[in-house]
């Protein structure tokens, strides 16, 4: 394994960089899109609720690989040119956003109805009540399950390997094919994933401990 790291370290590290980049972008993107669809799902407008529901149910029930390949194969053919890294990252973002939407929706709904009524009864608007009262309470509820989603996201980014995304898994595959040391290569790849996910895992634990319980 150390030979692999010594001889092909730069390739694997470059893959790690792509994985990190894809993960960070997908994390931010899926958080924004997921929260937006969570708000759709709890909207008092029926058509927004329907849109939210359809999005979540369709996206979360299709395999990530299919979504990523969809962006890699279909979009370049009919819409616009797109490289594997972009297609994979968008696919990852969309896929994860459906799960984040459900997590955020559940968090918001677990804040007691009375909190919203208390806020509305002094004349706060829906948005003001959400920002001032509901979100701050929902965030604390949502942090632990969101941590799970983020860790899954980093690991799921290995889907980029299937769409030529230059990520860690992709580079690992190339190294394994070149050296025939499959076992050692994937051991090294696994270790490098841990380098990304363990700190994330501990960050989430830290947030849970020092912020959620406060």
């Amino acid at each position: 394994m150390f030979t692999i790291l010594a001889e092909h370290g730069s390739a694997l590290l470059s893959g790690l960089g792509y994985t990190l980049a894809a993960s960070l972008m997908a994390l931010l993107g899926s958080l924004v899109i997921g929260t937006a669809f969570a708000l759709f799902e709890i909207s008092h407008r029926k058509w927004l609720r329907i849109i939210g529901r359809i999005y979540v149910e369709v996206v979360r029930n299709i395999p990530l690989l299919v979504i990523a390949l969809g962006f890699y194969v279909i979009v370049p053919r009919y819409v616009m040119p797109m490289d594997g890294f972009t297609a994979g990252t968008i696919g990852l973002t969309i896929y994860t956003s459906a799960f984040i939407a459900e997590t955020v929706r559940a968090g918001i709904e677990s804040v007691a109805v009375g909190q919203m009524e208390g806020a509305r009864s002094v004349g706060l608007t829906y948005t003001q009540a959400m920002v001032q009262i509901i979100f701050p309470q929902a965030i604390k509820i949502v942090v632990p399950p969101l941590g799970n989603q983020f860790i899954n996201l980093v690991k799921n980014s290995s889907v980029l390997a299937f769409v030529a995304g230059f990520d860690l898994m992709y580079e690992g595959k190339i190294v394994a094919n070149a050296t025939f040391s499959t076992f050692d290569t994937y051991l090294a790849v696994g270790l490098l994933y841990l380098v990304l996910t363990m700190p994330l895992s501990y960050l989430m634990r830290y947030l849970e401990k020092h912020w959620v319980s406060a």
Binding site: G114, E117, G118, A119, R120, S121, Q128, I133
Partner: protein, 245 residues
């Protein structure tokens, strides 16, 4: 001068007829208590007054605004009509002081320092001036409810609605809350109080409304007379059950 007017108001939840032909006028400065068995529509009636529930048909005028009109801005009504809930509904993520100042600063756009001064005055009035920095979770039920009343008063409302304000409290906490309510009543606040506190209804109320099955069965200004000789059989039964348990 009327503050709240119901004219032929009906309210349905799907097929369930929650409010039946409600006609009720409440004048400014009046303290009206609403009593009746559970499920009689008391809370629903109260919640229509600040638009937490919408009426199905009829006319409902609150502070000169027509609540049946879809274009009426509910936030303008709520700015002027406070509400105190059975389960307090204090903001769990804000301190006692911030609970009180949020409405005046965000909705009335009053300067923060001025709002905090009057919030501390209100806390003094409800006997909780030393609790300003605490979070609601650190308070007892009776304290929470007094903060909720202070929060409502901080908006300088024209009327306050009380939805069973003492029903979730331990018996020894009830007195403090009722005392605060009596003080507010004496200051001339228009109050609509859904309650099971017959002593309060009798002592403080200017008028009593008895509801059952979504209808107003009695609406009586002679409160003592109502308790001594309720006219409606349903009211007689209710009063005797409550007073002789």
């Amino acid at each position: 001068m009327s503050m709240i007017e119901f004219h032929d108001v009906e309210k349905y939840y799907g097929k369930f007829h929650a409010l039946k032909n409600i006609n009720l006028t409440i004048d400014r400065g009046e303290v009206v208590t609403i009593i009746g068995p559970s499920g009689s529509g008391k809370s629903t009636l109260l919640r229509t007054i600040n638009g937490l529930e919408r009426i199905t048909s009829g006319q409902l005028i609150v502070n000169d605004f027509d609540l049946a009109d879809k274009n009426t801005d509910m936030n303008r009504i709520r700015k002027n009509v406070g509400m105190v809930f059975q389960h307090f509904n204090l903001y769990a993520n804000k301190t006692v002081l911030d609970n009180i100042t949020l409405g005046p600063t965000m909705v009335l756009k009053r300067p923060k320092a001025e709002v905090e001064d009057s919030a501390r005055e209100l806390l003094k009035m409800v006997g909780l001036e030393d609790q300003a920095a605490k979070y609601p979770s650190a308070l007892s039920g009776g304290q929470k409810q007094r903060v909720a009343i202070a929060r409502s008063l901080a908006m300088n409302p024209r009327a306050i609605l009380f939805d069973e304000p003492t029903s979730a409290l331990d018996p020894e906490m009830i007195g403090d809350v009722l005392d605060v309510m009596q003080t507010i009543a004496k200051q001339g606040m228009t109050m609509v109080v859904v309650t099971h506190e017959m002593g309060f209804a009798r002592r403080v109320g200017d008028r009593i409304v008895f509801m059952a099955d979504g209808q107003i069965l009695e609406d009586e200004s002679d409160v003592a007379g109502f308790f001594d000789h309720p006219k409606e059989p349903r009211a007689q039964e209710f009063i005797s059950k409550i007073l002789n348990h």
